[in-house]
């Protein structure tokens, strides 16, 4: 177990080093060089040289990369050129907004998509399956931002401002019913402080972004669950069980369920990954103050320390999710355990 986990961790660290090379190169190939961003238009050659030396840009690339890695390990991600604050502080303060959004959406997708996918597999080749497959294919083709705008049109435009258009909470609500940022998750913080109107408002602001993110991934997850479930149902021992007349319910819930745990883990990892990627678009549609909208704003203003930090952070998070999934494989799959 430990050997396997350490092996995976070492592999992940190797990949992380590659990710660091990618994020490092952001600052080196960004169209407007950091010098230009810092000094504005037409700096004198002396100014340029001074900044080059102060940033260490006169050193060999390998040395620069080494310095970058050391800085990252010390938690120093530089100062945002846009907000003027340390990037780490910006990322930490916005991270929870993205977490609240993506976790709720992931739960929703898991709760609907996985049972739906199993249903389609069980009812394969029936009209239910055909409708399900066609709908999920259509769902996977629908642009994420269109889902969000469509929901805005219906719930804000059509139904007369039933739900808020954008943002995380009404600014007046926050003034009238303040709550301390204990966890950074508004639903939990407002409940802990007993500020019920704030809780209701935060929940109302969450509905549309969460729905958008969930609907977009639902199609992918349902299809994936259906196909992996079908593969399991096609295994020889399941066919044998049927041939011996084992009741359907026993086949599905006792015999087929255990081997599906492994692909289910893959699905869980995939869902979280889809959420992290999709959150960039959703946060842009709903003006959600998370990491996605932060990185989009940073790109627009060539704020390269912020772009580097968010990219590194999200990639690390995704790698960590995959590491957890890999380790859980080991827990549920006796074949891996016996091989080691």
């Amino acid at each position: 177990m430990l050997k396997y986990a350490v092996g995976r961790l070492v592999m992940m660290l190797g990949i992380l080093l590659g990710v660091l090379v990618v994020t490092f190169s952001i600052s080196r190939v960004l169209p407007s060089s950091p010098i230009e961003v810092m000094l504005g238009h037409r700096p004198t050659p002396e100014q340029i040289e001074a900044v080059r030396i102060s940033l260490g840009l006169d050193q060999p690339l390998l040395v620069q990369f080494f310095h970058y890695v050391v800085q990252v390990l010390q938690g120093d991600f530089g100062t945002s050129l846009r907000t003027g604050r340390p990037v780490l502080a910006d990322v930490l303060s916005r991270m929870t907004a993205t977490f609240e959004l993506t976790l709720l959406a992931a739960l929703l997708v898991g709760a609907i998509g996985i049972p739906l996918g199993v249903l389609l597999a069980v009812r394969r080749n029936t009209p239910v399956d055909f409708v399900g497959r066609t709908t999920t294919l259509a769902g996977a083709s629908f642009p994420l931002f269109m889902i969000g705008m469509l929901l805005q049109m219906v719930f804000y435009g059509g139904l007369g401002r039933l739900l808020p258009l954008q943002g995380r909470i009404g600014s007046e609500t926050l003034l009238d019913y303040p709550f301390p940022p204990t966890t950074g998750l508004y639903l939990i913080d407002s409940a802990l402080a007993g500020q019920w109107p704030a809780l209701v408002d935060a929940a109302a602001h969450l509905v549309l972004p969460v729905l958008t993110l969930a609907i977009a991934s639902l199609a992918v997850i349902t299809r994936f669950t259906r196909n992996t479930m079908l593969e399991v149902l096609n295994l020889d021992y399941i066919k044998t069980a049927w041939a011996f007349g084992v009741p359907d319910r026993r086949v599905y819930f006792r015999l087929a369920l255990r081997p599906t745990l492994i692909p289910m883990l893959t699905i869980a990892g995939l869902t979280l990954g889809l959420m992290l990627g999709g959150s960039v678009i959703v946060e842009s549609v709903f003006d959600w103050p998370g990491l996605g909208s932060y990185v989009v704003a940073a790109i627009a203003q060539n704020d390269y320390p912020a772009v580097m930090a968010v990219t590194l952070f999200l990639a690390t998070l995704y790698l960590a999710i995959n590491l957890v999934v890999d380790i859980l494989y080991y827990v549920v799959d006796p074949r891996l355990r016996n091989a080691a």
Binding site: L16, V29, P31, L137, F142, G157, A300, L314
Partner: protein, 291 residues
Amino acid sequence: MSAPGVPAAAPRRLAALGHFVADQPLFVLGAALLAVVAILAMLAPAIAPYAPNAIDFGEKLKQPGWDHLMGTDSLGRDIFSRVLFGTQTSLMIGVSVLVVSMAIGVPIGLAAGYFGGRVDSILMRVADVFLAFPPLLLPITITAMLGAGLFNAMMALAISWFPWYARIVRASVISIKSEAYISAARTLGLPTLRIILRHVLPNSYGPAIVQGSMDFGYAILATASLSFIGIGARPPAIEWGLMVAEARSTFLANWWTAASPGAAIFLTVLAANLVGDGLRDILDPRSVRRD
């Protein structure tokens, strides 16, 4: 399959086509949709009633009607004409991203799969780094590096997606490498490059084609997303995602400004997905079929 009394050649061919349509209705629908998109792209200059970038403030935000089939946007531009010209951009995006990412990924996959060993592990570790980013984050980051714009967004997608092709091709190369005809070619002393190009490649690109037909749609979808957040196509380019982005300030009161370009993206991507799904069934005999 065929009925006993064998009919004449032409009706038989027609019957075979009928069988195919009945067997793969969604594939045929998708292929037909893609054909329509291609035809519209070619005929756009002839069909479009207005110049796609012609601004006419007197006609701004008109509802869909006979003068403007899909209405006009906030600058009075005819949305129907713009959607039509957008098909050209979208086809160009789909084809370019596909060609570039395959051109990088397929040779890498061939090399990794055929030579194995150290070549394989180095190439695949590089691919792992590219696959370590959540979907869409890497294209966003690379576009940020290259600078916003349609061409850069397409290149960013191609660079982000090539590892998928490398992996897919590598897997199928490994599965056919031990086949007798490859050993025979080697025993005969054929040059390695010739073996790879003439014998390995033709027998291993099937799964990559399936992936490619899906990615054709996803390239259009992802480029639209990049345009939507402001780092993809920029005016005066006519791109559906950019059209939706430009409609963000108007769509709540004027739904048609976002609806038509959004529907165009949806239908084109759906068509590509239907074709890809059908191709998987057709090319992969092991895939789970309707009994």
